[in-house]
């Protein structure tokens, strides 16, 4: 018999494997480190403001965002929140029907080459940078709104909503299409065997089965619209306002940070207030993402 027990010793390959495992683990854990880091470093900069000047009631109920006022600086974020919400709302009105419609068409009607082409086109749309979308809002959509609705300024809720809707739609289409594709074909076959038309099959069988995926597509779209910065900054008109019509200009939470951070002194109240806005945004998007994840997990378990 070969004396083989002698090979049982810790060799180079064994050691290398251990070292690599540790390195890879560090890579994996880095994502957690970064997300915690984001929270910690933003909180760190916001802290002084939160303890010295921050007023919860004012923050959530006042529409007066006047951080640069020399004798009466106020930090009411209500108008900014309403601005973000109104723009996101219009964006969803644009994006939900079109992206879900497109997802249904691509998944249930289109075949072969046209299906592939549409998917590629949608994917390319998702790649257009937000500053380019902002520029499109600033020039093309602005002009269109002025001409069509005969209003003096086209930079408003409607403009930013349309732009955001177009931006969010491709991602929502992709996720919704994934959700529809995940519905097993035997459901469709069963429905067809019972004599259902294509549309009856989609409405009664496919859409209900894909419900969770569609909801999470919408949620991620909302998250995207909520967090979008440059496009909203450029297309919304960026003026503090509680909008009463889609033709009013508004200002969004994200855009406020982008527009003002460059002009504040590190450590000032205004600087701290902007980081507080950032913390608020971080927590809200964290919640939205968490919810979307739980909803998606719901699909996998069912």
């Amino acid at each position: 018999m070969r004396a083989s027990l002698s090979t049982d010793r810790i060799d180079r390959a064994w050691i290398v494997d251990r070292i690599v495992q540790v390195l890879m683990f560090l890579g994996g854990i880095s994502a957690v480190v970064f997300i915690v880091g984001i929270f910690v470093f933003i909180t760190r900069e916001a802290l002084q403001f939160v303890f010295s000047r921050f007023d919860v009631v004012e923050f959530f109920t006042s529409i007066r965002w006047a951080p640069t006022s020399t004798n009466n600086a106020t930090y009411g974020a209500l108008a900014l929140m309403v601005g973000t919400a109104s723009v996101t709302g219009v964006a969803m009105l644009v994006a939900i029907p079109f992206s879900l419609g497109a997802a249904v068409y691509i998944s249930e009607f289109a075949t072969g080459r046209s299906r592939e082409t549409l998917k590629v086109l949608v994917e390319l749309l998702a790649a257009i940078p937000s500053v380019v979308w902002g520029f499109i809002g600033l020039t093309i959509v602005n002009g269109l709104i002025i001409d069509v609705f005969d209003v003096p300024i086209g930079l408003n809720v409607l403009n930013a909503g349309i732009i955001l809707g177009l931006m969010a739609a491709p991602i929502m289409t992709t996720i919704a299409e994934d959700a529809l594709k995940a519905v097993p074909d035997r459901y469709r076959e069963a429905a067809e065997a019972m004599g259902a038309t294509r549309w009856q099959m989609i409405r009664r069988v496919v859409l209900p089965a894909a419900k969770n995926g569609l909801v999470s597509a919408v949620l991620l779209g909302v998250g995207r619209g909520f967090g979008e910065t440059m496009a909203v900054l450029m297309a919304s008109g960026h003026s503090i306002n509680l909008p009463t019509s889609p033709f009013d200009s508004v200002r969004a939470l994200t855009a406020t940070i982008a527009a003002e951070l460059g002009e504040t002194a590190v450590g000032s109240d205004h600087y701290g207030a902007l980081f507080t806005l950032g913390l608020f945004l971080f927590l809200i998007t964290f919640l939205i993402n968490l919810t979307a994840d739980v909803v998606v997990r719901g699909i996998r378990n069912s």
Binding site: A13, W14, D17, M24, L26, G27, G28, S30, V32, F34, I35, I38, F41, I42, E45, P97, F98, G101, A102, Y105, F109, L118, L121, V122, E123, L124, L125, A127, I128, P129, S130, V131, V132, G134, F135, I136, T139, I140, L166, T173, R198, W199, G223, G227, E228, T229, M230, M234, T254, A258, L261, G262, L274, G278, L281, F282, T285, F286, L290, D293
Partner: protein, 289 residues
């Protein structure tokens, strides 16, 4: 009999109507964007000359070219890759090849989802708080590219993990059974067969980071820098920020200038995406098992 065919015919008509409604929605989603792109090409195309690309801006950015911004974007994107690609690949290898199914792995996955979902302006605030101030890099190429890298990390992780998991488990078991360690298995069999998928992810990352504005505007990109950066602690101009600046902040810029910059950005981003899509299609057609 006749009644039945009649009903079929009605059904067919209804069918077609629904089909057309959904086709219409799809086209309404795609067409406006194509028209907009066409407009950008018409107005921005003539601007994009060699001089425009390779000259410095003149007269307060109202004349001349965009060379420092063009170069700055290339530098930022490249350095972002240098930081994020090794880290992202390591994270993906850990998740796909080593991670047990426990709470820590679930936290990592959740962190990745959130890293991808956090607004870009929040990433910018993090970059300011961490790199610019805490680590003392100042507003610099280093701080900006680190911020970009963290923002793009999920793209690399997700693409890499997907292509690692596309390698059948049976190959791993066969290697393990021969006495290969996990790492030997990864290096000799798993990675060589997923490297093209990883590359696709990297190209996608380039396209994502090239157009980003918010994360770099307070961490390292500047409105105007009269010279090219010398070290990674210098500030730089960038195409995306330049587009924002000349379309909103500077009076007297020739009307077609921003169209040219927007078109250039779109060309960069779309060609990177097309490359990655083409790569993916080519991969699908190439059978290795």
């Amino acid at each position: 009999m006749f009644a039945a065919t009649d009903r079929n015919r009605t059904n067919d008509r209804i069918q077609r109507r629904y089909r057309n409604v959904f086709l219409g929605m799809t086209l309404l989603l795609v067409l406006p964007v194509l028209i907009i792109l066409g407009l950008l090409v018409v107005r921005g195309g003539p601007v994009l000359t060699a001089e425009f690309l390779f000259e410095f801006p003149k007269s307060g950015m109202t004349a001349g070219g965009i060379f420092p911004a063009f170069l700055g974007t290339i530098i930022l994107v490249t350095m972002g890759l240098v930081f994020s690609v090794p880290l992202g690949i390591a994270a993906a290898i850990y998740l796909s090849e080593y991670a047990p199914d426990n709470w820590l792995t679930r936290s990592i996955n959740l962190a990745i989802i959130n890293l991808a979902g956090v607004p870009s302006i929040v990433h910018a605030l993090f970059g300011v708080g961490a790199f610019v101030i805490f680590f003392g890099f100042g507003t610099s190429i280093l701080a900006a590219s680190l911020t970009l890298a963290i923002m793009a990390l999920p793209v690399v992780i997700v693409a890499t993990r997907e292509s690692l998991q596309a390698v059948p488990h049976a190959f791993r078991e066969a290697c393990w059974a021969m006495g290969a360690t996990r790492w030997q298995t990864i290096r000799r069999v798993v990675l060589p067969n997923s490297v093209s998928g990883i590359l696709t992810g990297v190209i996608l990352e380039v396209s994502r980071t090239a157009g980003e504005t918010a994360p770099i505007m307070f961490t390292g990109a500047a409105f105007f820098v009269p010279f090219l950066p010398q070290t990674i602690f210098d500030k730089t101009m960038a195409l995306s920020l330049h587009l924002f600046v000349i379309s909103t902040q500077v009076p007297g810029v020739p009307e077609d200038f921003p169209y040219g910059v927007a078109l250039l950005l779109i060309i960069i981003v779309l060609s990177m995406n097309a490359l990655s899509i083409g790569f993916r299609t080519w991969l699908r057609g190439r059978k290795k098992w």
